[in-house]
Homo-oligomer: 412 residues x 2
């Protein structure tokens, strides 16, 4: 691992110097290589699928693992899209003269070497590699052991792309061993790795955060709330709540708890509950909720702190905005929270006082996503406050250094 | 400590909601309180000075500890200046419509609770408190045991200022015990503390970074370089080198290693060495340096990685820009490095390829400072790459969250 780290560090230095067009060419050449390697990708993916079937992986896991022709198309399209994004590297901002006569500004620069630890889906290999190449970083990728052959097949294409563009083939390295030790080493090499991005279950991320000696961009759970204010438009409340809960169940920006202002609960809650019930969502309510709707079972304290990732919604009637904000700031995972209201002042207070990475007015929490926000791509959604908060795109993989221009200026 | 943490967390929430004018008023009222408490400050400072003399602190330490009338003036002036700075909290940027119809932007928000651990100088208590108040954070301050009475006297004034402005008096808390345990607890309460800023010697910072379970904004050593390029203007080279080395010896942005292009070493180095020798700077050179100047002793490998903080300078003749950049990227602490040149292309390459928090052209490394850069004030100089890099001002004590405005928008 140390040799791999050393190669990554050197490759990172050369990537930081690489031109915009060389980095873009590497992405496009990787796309061409993937397109030309479809048969090989499918064959090596089949090795993983066979091994997975033997190990008794369930159907959902096997589905995530499979590289269908459509998924290969999507990887190729993703690379082409990242190539079209603006280059974040070298952007100079806030350049200004100071009273001393020096000019001071900031220049955006790559972080260096980014370690990415992820599970099952092999397309993450391409996503992560493309964002790191675009942002002038080197990447060390450690995918799940169940996808090792697929990941290596994809890595071969990335290496070919880097080579065709005249860049270091070590700019993207896939850890070849499936040994657990490898992760332990990767997260303890601050001399070679600048930041770790874990993508996977909460257990993986918590373990890595605890053990890492390298900064970690964390993506913990998403316990997202919508608050239906007393001035909510009932139609918007219905549409947004149903979308936020049911558009996809397994994503971190899915709604998990609905808060309703007592003043309108009797009017606004029953149609929402009816619609969710029709779709098959299990409702767990506070006592007041149970009195207003029929298709709910009692919620326990545990419900308020649970990310269901399933067709389950907890519902609580609150005494207005203050109680809603208090509930959210206590139970939310500070991922994404939304208010539905036509009231200007309460919308403004919610935006200011809810301390989450995304705070929304009259919009579905499902919008919390790098593509929807216009970042072009994302490497994860940070629940940290420092460095990157919310969807992490190319900017999150870079940093800014100060640059100073003088003409022989000295400090007096 | 946990109770103190809990109070800080609550105070942090209320500070995040406090108006710009209330936070500014707290700063101005603190300034008035300090002005009215001069006798008390001097008396309680005298307790620390007496204890210090008894414990045998040296003259430099005692000097740093003393609250002279001039230093009290400077603290008062500092508070007034911070009050005049623009409020970073609530600034909304990059607001734009997305194809889905939602509007997405970013809002700058306080980090929450900031723990600051520092040594001796009591004026840090006011500096740190004022930046935290201005940026809408709560602060937990842990100063050195040798300044405990002075720090508490200052903290009394801050509390009075917060009270007069109608803000929580727990927004700035000074840890009352000088017990070492207290630091250990402070850096292990991620539920109450969002970031730790250690200010002090390298040993303190390394220990805290290693043991903290809370993110740390680190300020490690400053091994700063100047490279005199073959196209350096000899007068600028002389002025900048002498200023960078001798304007102050003990600061992190002081020059520690001078690199000189072989092509001009014979011309440019002797006058620089002569001037530094006159001022009393000890020179330690590579063999080529020793052949060119008389007043130098041989440098060892250790010299290239030493932050002298003293009238000592190491000098190395290099084979041009590439070797200079290689030396810097190997030995620099990535704090501040400068090139002296009239050559456009080499200036541009130096700016791009040197991976330090401040990179300069034709300017003294001594300019790497929050005040000189226009941040208004600084809480330290970060040698980290993530979050804040270089001088850390109000922006470094805040973060950005995404805000989304919709009109019942759902994701499809």
């Amino acid at each position: 691992m140390r040799e791999l780290g050393q190669r990554a560090r050197e490759a990172g230095r050369s990537m930081a110097r690489a031109t915009t067009s060389a980095r873009n060419e590497a992405l496009l050449a990787t796309a061409r290589a993937l397109d030309a390697s479809r048969d090989n990708l499918r064959e090596r993916n089949e090795l993983d699928l066979e091994a997975g079937r033997e190990r008794g992986l369930d159907a959902a896991m096997l589905d995530r693992l499979e590289l269908t022709p459509g998924r290969i198309d999507a990887m190729i399209e993703g690379l082409r899209q990242v190539a079209t994004l603006a280059d974040p590297v070298g952007v100079i901002s806030d350049m200004q003269y100071r009273p001393s006569g020096i000019q001071v500004g900031r220049m955006r620069v790559p972080l260096g070497v980014i370690g990415i630890i992820y599970e099952s889906r092999p397309n993450v290999t391409v996503d992560a590699a493309s964002l790191c190449i675009k942002s002038g970083n080197a990447a060390v990728l450690r995918g799940g052991s169940e996808a090792i052959h697929s990941n290596q097949a994809i890595a071969d294409c990335v290496r070919q792309g880097l080579k065709e563009a005249g860049l270091s083939e070590s700019a993207v390295q896939v850890v070849e061993t499936t040994d657990r030790e490898a992760v332990g080493n990767l997260i303890r090499m601050p001399e070679y790795v600048d930041v770790i991005v874990p993508r996977g279950g909460k257990g993986l991320i918590e373990r890595i955060s605890r053990e890492a000696e390298v900064p970690v961009i964390k993506h913990l759970d998403g316990i997202c709330h919508s608050f239906l204010d007393r001035d909510a438009d009932p139609e918007k409340a219905l549409a947004v709540t149903v979308n936020a809960k049911t558009q996809r169940y397994g994503t971190c920006n899915t709604l998990e708890t609905l808060l309703v202002d007592r003043a309108v609960a009797e009017e606004i809650l029953p149609p929402v509950a009816r619609k969710l019930g029709e779709i098959g969502v299990e409702l767990r309510g506070c006592p007041e909720t149970l009195a207003l709707i029929e298709n709910a079972i009692p919620a326990t304290d545990e419900d308020w702190e649970t990310e269901y990732l399933a067709p389950v919604l907890s519902i609580r009637v609150v005494d207005g905005l203050d109680e809603a904000i208090a509930h959210i700031n206590r139970y939310s995972s500070q991922h994404t929270d939304s208010i539905i209201t036509e009231n200007y002042t309460r919308a403004r207070r919610f935006l200011t006082e809810v301390d989450s990475s995304s705070v929304m007015v009259n919009a579905s929490t499902r919008f919390a996503d790098g593509f929807e926000y216009g970042l072009g791509a994302e490497i994860g959604i940070s629940t940290d406050k420092l460095h990157a908060r919310g969807p992490v795109g190319l900017e999150g993989l870079t940093s800014e250094k100060y640059i100073v221009f003088g003409d022989g200026h000295i400090r007096t």
